[in-house]
Symmetry: D2
Subunit: 430 residues, 4 copies
């Protein structure tokens, strides 16, 4: 790491021309230039280890070489790039492979919808079809959920700051406590059941429940398998659809392709995006059980549903899921991360709270929320990119590419640990 | 054109695996494989001339060679592909060029927001900031407007079929008659002014007006320059922001970079997408006058705001706007299209209504709405891709890439004219 | 008139104890004590002629002697006063008489609903059942409509000041231009028809239209018979219910029992209140065609649906409608009022606009809105109570009890005309 | 009781002419004629003891003789009956007495608003001013709350059947668990505090909390004093207003004038109606702390705000609260009722659940919800009027007039107990 020596590039162009809404470029103040797997370099040649992985869009690393080859070949042979939702060979191949590698082994027959290339498109489509299929309007969602920034998705997102951005009342959603929200001793599912059973509760029977198996933005809260299974049963008994938003946690982030694989549930609707595009290319899917795929043709549409570079990259990325090797690799990295986090947590028990998360998205909650942000600054100064999450930004979140080399992971963890040491030292002084 | 001879590929995979919501693949029943500028080929080698141009996302043609070279180079040198909204060299270059080529010549200082890579993201962001900046909530929008499929954008979209898809009441919008909606003799702007002046009208003062200078999906209705200027003045006098949705009509479609360039207005907010990405890659911009760029950092966000392949392609595409040649080329093609359309309209006056549209988006409204759809079928059988628009799908719409070779344009127009002849013959028989 | 001589009572108790929302007591600054037919007296013995008639609740005058007798008898014999919606003899008699006197002669079989004792209850119930019966949600309503102050009624009320009072977005309503809204040359019904016919207009098919035949609060705008008939036809063709809000204009105010009697329409739902209670007692009805009376028992309720004093008074008041005499009396008073108004309008053409209204609700619109308010002040100083209406309070409104003695009417009109003279003199000076 | 002997009158007129929404006349199938204190007689002379008391509107009994005298005198001397919100002597006297008897002894200086003559008017006004005063929109309300049937009040009412009647989505409200909702061991106030403290909970900071100290319609659930005090503190700390809906429980129903007198709280807004009108006459008040009385004149209004017969009756009724005798009388009746209820509950422990309620609104929850309704039938057959409440109608509710003679109360309790015996016998057989 030589970035202390070298100067950082200036951000003048961004300060002058880009909207005030820009955000990560304020935390990670440099101009990036090149990237490979878990590393980034800025225009002055400074090197960074990436523990953020495109907020989960780069599970297969930056510029994955195998995928890149496919993309370049496709471009050079004039493969159709943009096709709206017309049929293309690239899409056909993706669909076929997705069925083989993902759906068939699970015994599923979900239909694949291309709702537009972003996560929020996938969620908006899920909410629409759930309402159409049930004739109900409200959506049951959870404390600290994050589902996206367009109006429908925002209505089921918990964060007050994001919600306020809507500028209008967000409606047709009812928030319920996520697993563990009131501590280990309160059974939040019993609470939800009671409210839905009571005709006087004021809580209408919802069209659907939308849930994340692990809440990434919400602070790395993980639902237990049992809780998810009870939620699925509640959905069945109340005629609600179960929407699993696996946009950030899917594609292997928690250790298996779907984050809820080990819960043994089969959601009616599954939202995928971020890493489904393989190479960080915009792409999203909404998977629908055939019985609720009652769309009229074109009832939902969008210009970029046919981003064929995404299909090419996504198809190649599916190769990681053809056998068990990738899962095992993730698992060994998971343990390596956990080791460091637990050591740090133990060492600084008064400053750090619990270690949270699953698979290769793990973190530590800080007792003073602002410390997580300060840690991110300290880490970045030493060449490590890491973000915070949680309603007060109180969780330092480690989510490297799943494909990170073991030694790069260890380098990153060393920087992380050193940064926590510095933070602790600062805290002692203050 | 040898497509009558060759067999078409089957769509079994799509029928079995893709959601019922798929739509264009039902009209254009083949599997596409390769594409170059204004031509597509399917997997059996059939050739098609493209008068649809990705619904306006392919103004610079399929797989534009100059842009492709930049993309391949960038991929091969490991340029950052996915960057959230961190600063990258590719983005810096795009911002700089956009200012030079687009903003400066107009004397504008709009800030550039990357709201996510699709048109509906751009519109959602526009609505949010308009509400925040004014403290008002409702949006004034227009009959037959189309702005997108997520909940916020849908609330300002006129089409009943699309709106119904929401499954919930769409609120915070008020529809007003577009220019010419009640015929040439009714001044719709006077109507709007009266409603906004009258404290008893029930119409609240809106945060903003959102308008298209030409309504593409709504049936190629074009607003006069005078009407747009009066709308801008009304916005100023009532403290409403003017949002110009130039997603489909921008990037040269009507003959100049912005569709409203000749009206001499300066919208507070401009939405761009579709062809801004140059190569059909997902990308969108929301341009904001500095005074209303009052976002908090991260108040709106999204995973794919940093699609750097889009920035690379978009930067190269701006080259078309460095001098007047491209505009002149569009203009000569516009006239060529108009010639055919007027001839056809005159020949089949009882079947066809007025010729509509501007620049390289033109069409004919049919008196029986279903004839436009039938014409599209006939054209496709002869190797021409063309779509319909309008509230009843009654307009046959011609929108080839702006870069179409003149002889390909003429070939396409011949197929178009022959198809109208066939249609007229069918009508005589029936 | 001796009120210039006598002192006015103080309003200290009201200023100290009553909420700031109080309003008419600010215009008519005295403490009233007794009342008989069209006259009021304050606690100091000052006499006032009442051209306001309880905003239409006192069509049969203050303390109508015949009705009072019935009330006193009922009280003294311990008739049930409060009965929720249990059956009482008083209610039975009212229902029977209402059928005989009002429904039967018109050949109607509307069911009678007691929705609670105020106009806004009647409207809320109408909106609910219209939505239930059609399965649609939005209500088409009109510029400058007034229907009440609870949330549902307010959503179909045009006045911006009243609407703002809601503190939340008012939704599920669409405002359309009332008859004559854009002047005599614009056919507003054609406008509405076009919007409802066009699947791209953004205007959903409403559950119902709610309309007043004459807009009292909105400025005495009167719909033509033809326009109302076209509205009824439009309702039939679009499956919308027609709700006629006759709360202020019904019970004879415009010259016949229903204000729309001469239009020859039969609304699906009719709202009555104000003078239906005969003596100024709280009472309201929602009349429903049997086919849409699909309420579940108790689906709408309210504590004061069974105000039996109201039933007693209302029954007696129906006697006025047993023959034609009352109608003729109203008509002669109508002409007398019109005479004065037209003379005044002619005399002060530069200050006054058109004479408006029908039957015994008539007025003059002032070119400077504030003059109407000033006229009300001047009239009150001379012992005449008269209010303003219209979106800017620009209309001076004359609505005496229908039972006013002819000579009292003439006294009142003299004060009115003298007050206009004073106003004109003030205007000349200023 | 001779009603077994005599025949009941027919309900034909109601069946034919009144809307299907009628409800209590289906449970209590007779036509009532006369009434005095706690007794009613039908047109055939059958006598009934009233344990329903106009759903709380007849706390001072039917046709209270002292109040009646005042009403008759007022009518005979031509006192102003209907006055909109103009000042009248009757209103002045009421305001003065209300301050003396109710506000002053509590050290309060609430302003008195006349929001229209029904409970739902009082609640609509409360919600409006709370939103205006705080600039927030949502209202926190409680499971099994009942606040009224107009759209705003309905949005904070829990009952699903009533809510569905709205026909539109009810918005701007968030339901929270009432005291004891999850059983005695769950601290629901801690739950609410957590949700309001967490910026990620999805629950917005509300404008106000609306709460009943005892939920009458919701099943006689009573909040503890401690819980109410914590609620008040939470309101203060979060800038929410506390709205106490005392419409059914106020005016002595629970033993003191306000149902929350013993909790030692001072709500920002208090809604009163039902028995405030003294004689069962429509009347309602919204009491506002001066600091939030920021209405513009006329921002909320209504035709029947000035029901002077109500003021006359209400003034006289206040005499009951001038000393402690009435409170003591209520208390002795409360104990008498409790005695019977506890005996019954003990005797039929397998059929009956807990005894609920406070003061002179008490009841028993049945394990099979339908038994409460059957009990009401059996009681009515023996000349006792008693209603059910609770989300499934599972609670038999005893709420006689507070002024009931002790021996009539005992007669009623005997019928009640006998009816329970019959019910138990039926249950054994079935």
């Amino acid at each position: 790491m030589n970035n202390q020596v070298m100067e950082k590039p200036k951000l003048d162009v961004f300060d002058q021309l880009e909207s005030e809404v820009r955000s990560y470029c304020r935390s990670f103040k440099t101009v990036f230039h090149k990237a490979r797997n878990a590393k980034l370099w800025d225009t002055r040649g400074n090197e960074y280890i990436d523990f953020f992985a495109g907020a989960g869009a780069l599970n297969y690393g930056h510029n994955n070489a195998k995928i890149r080859k496919k993309l370049v070949d496709y471009l050079l042979e004039d493969g159709v790039t943009h096709s709206l939702d017309m049929a293309t060979e690239a899409k056909e191949t993706f669909l076929t492979r997705f069925r083989e590698v993902i759906l068939k082994p699970r015994g599923w027959d979900h239909k694949v919808m291309f709702p537009g290339p972003t996560g929020t498109n996938a969620v908006e489509a899920a909410l629409k079809i759930a309402r159409k299929a049930t004739g109900r309007t409200s959506i049951l969602c959870f404390t600290n959920a994050f589902h996206g920034m367009s109006l429908g998705s925002l209505s089921v997102t918990g964060n007050a700051f994001k919600r306020k951005g809507a500028g209008v009342e967000l409606s047709h959603s009812v928030f319920m406590p996520y697993d563990g929200y009131f501590g280990d001793n309160v059974d939040t599912m019993a609470y939800i059941e009671k409210l839905l059973d009571d005709p006087g509760s004021g809580v209408p029977l919802p069209a659907a429940v939308i849930v994340e198996a692990v809440q990434g933005e919400g602070g790395l809260n993980a639902a237990s398998r049992k809780w998810l299974r009870r939620l699925e049963r509640l959905c069945r008994s109340k005629g609600m659809l179960l929407i699993l938003d696996d946009i950030q946690m899917g594609c292997g982030r928690t250790g298996s392709f779907f984050s809820f694989d080990d819960a043994g549930i089969e959601p009616d609707i599954i939202c995928l995006s971020k890493s489904i595009g393989g190479y960080g290319l915009p792409m999203a899917l909404t998977l629908l059980k055939p019985g609720i795929d009652i769309w009229e043709p074109g009832e939902h549409n969008g210009t970029f549903r046919g981003n064929n570079l995404g299909f090419i990259a996504a198809t190649e990325a599916l190769a990681y899921w053809e056998n068990d090797q990738f899962r095992r690799d993730i698992h060994s990295r998971e343990r390596r991360m956990r080791l460091t986090l637990e050591r740090v947590s133990e060492k600084y028990g008064s400053m750090c709270g619990e270690v949270r998360g699953r698979g290769m998205i793990q973190g530590i909650a800080f007792r003073k929320p602002e410390l997580a942000g300060r840690l991110s600054e300290l880490a970045f100064e030493s060449g490590l990119i890491l973000e915070t999450s949680g309603p007060r930004g109180e969780v330092a979140k480690l989510m490297p590419p799943l494909t990170i080399e073991m030694n790069t992971l260890e380098q990153g963890l060393v920087i992380f640990e050193n940064s926590v040491d510095k933070l602790a030292a600062e805290e002692v002084k203050s």
